[in-house]
């Protein structure tokens, strides 16, 4: 069963050929429609996109899951940004953010939190934990364009 979907049709095996100026974004959302939407928005902004349907699968992709050892072949080093929904079953976006910030390999990668609800305490909680930005859903093209500029600046 396909757990992730890559926008490129190149084999996921030993390595991917990526245009070096195309940021690679991992998008995490349990909602089918939102996953499709964020994927297209990111592709439109010339990003390579990998989607995951929950926090655990996202961590597995990054090589950060509890059952993975640190020498596991992971994609973490290729990811330039993670964008995640806040409300997800099992592991929330906030919990995923924490795990990412706890990892020595991934802690400097910008994490964007999306939510359909504008709750100040939630926003503060995420920002304090190191989220790059908090975005309200539904996402628009202009939101993602803005994000892309930020990622490119982060890469230096």
């Amino acid at each position: 069963m396909e757990m992730f979907a890559n926008s490129s049709s190149i084999s996921k095996g030993m390595g991917e050929v990526v245009a070096s100026d195309e940021p690679h974004v991992l998008a995490v959302d349990d909602n089918l429609v939102d996953r499709k939407l964020v994927e297209i928005l990111l592709k439109k902004s010339s990003c390579k996109v990998t989607t995951a349907e929950d926090g655990l699968r996202a961590l597995e992709y990054l090589g950060l899951a509890a059952h993975q050892d640190s020498s596991a072949n992971s994609n973490g080093s290729k990811v330039n940004m993670i964008i995640t929904d806040y409300c997800m079953p099992g592991m929330t976006g906030y919990e995923l953010l924490k795990k990412i910030k706890e990892s020595s390999m991934m802690k400097d990668v910008p994490v964007v939190i999306m939510s359909s609800e504008n709750i100040p305490t939630r926003i503060n909680q995420c920002m304090e934990e190191g989220a790059q930005i908090f975005m309200l859903k539904p996402l628009k093209h202009s939101d993602v364009e803005r994000l892309r500029c930020q990622i490119m600046q982060c890469r230096g």
């Binding site: 429609v33 939102d34 297209i40 359909s116």
Partner: protein, 151 residues
């Protein structure tokens, strides 16, 4: 029917959907995202919305049919439905979700069932409207015309 007529019908129909509140600005966003590299984007996303909604409506029906209703579960389903309807611009469906969530909070099965009934109606209406819209598009393309961009 000739192309010009079909295109005019399309524009009018689309305008009516916005005017009557079936669709909101988010739907326009989806249309703007469609281009040569994603030519069927709107149909794809809307199809996912149909699939997702029907599954959720079934889940809601079953959840509310239980002797001991798990209102947290019901609320979780409504939250999902609110999310996807909001993301495609299905405004009326989205608007039904807010009172529904209130009923979940009050743990009132009867009012929840009424909300479910309402949402099902709104969903079927918008599904019907969107399918008609897509059919009109197909007719225009079959007649050799281009789909008009509606602001």
């Amino acid at each position: 029917m000739e192309v010009g007529q079909l295109q005019r019908s399309f524009v009018e129909y689309m305008a009516s959907l916005f005017r009557e509140g079936f669709l909101d600005a988010q739907f326009s966003q989806l249309q703007q995202l469609q281009d040569d590299s994603n030519p069927d984007f709107v149909v794809e996303v809307v199809s996912l919305f149909f699939e997702d909604s029907e599954r959720l409506l079934n889940d809601l029906t079953m959840a509310l049919d239980q002797p001991n209703v798990d209102f947290k579960q019901v609320d979780a389903h409504v939250h999902q439905l609110k999310g996807s309807s909001s993301s495609v611009g299905a405004q009326r469906v989205k608007n039904c979700c807010v009172p529904f969530r209130n009923c979940c909070e009050e743990q009132n099965t009867e009012t929840c069932l009424r909300c479910l009934q309402q949402i099902k109606q709104e969903y079927l209406l918008v599904k019907n409207k969107l399918q008609t819209l897509f059919e009109l598009e197909q007719q225009i393309v079959a007649a050799g015309g281009a789909i008009p961009m509606v602001q």
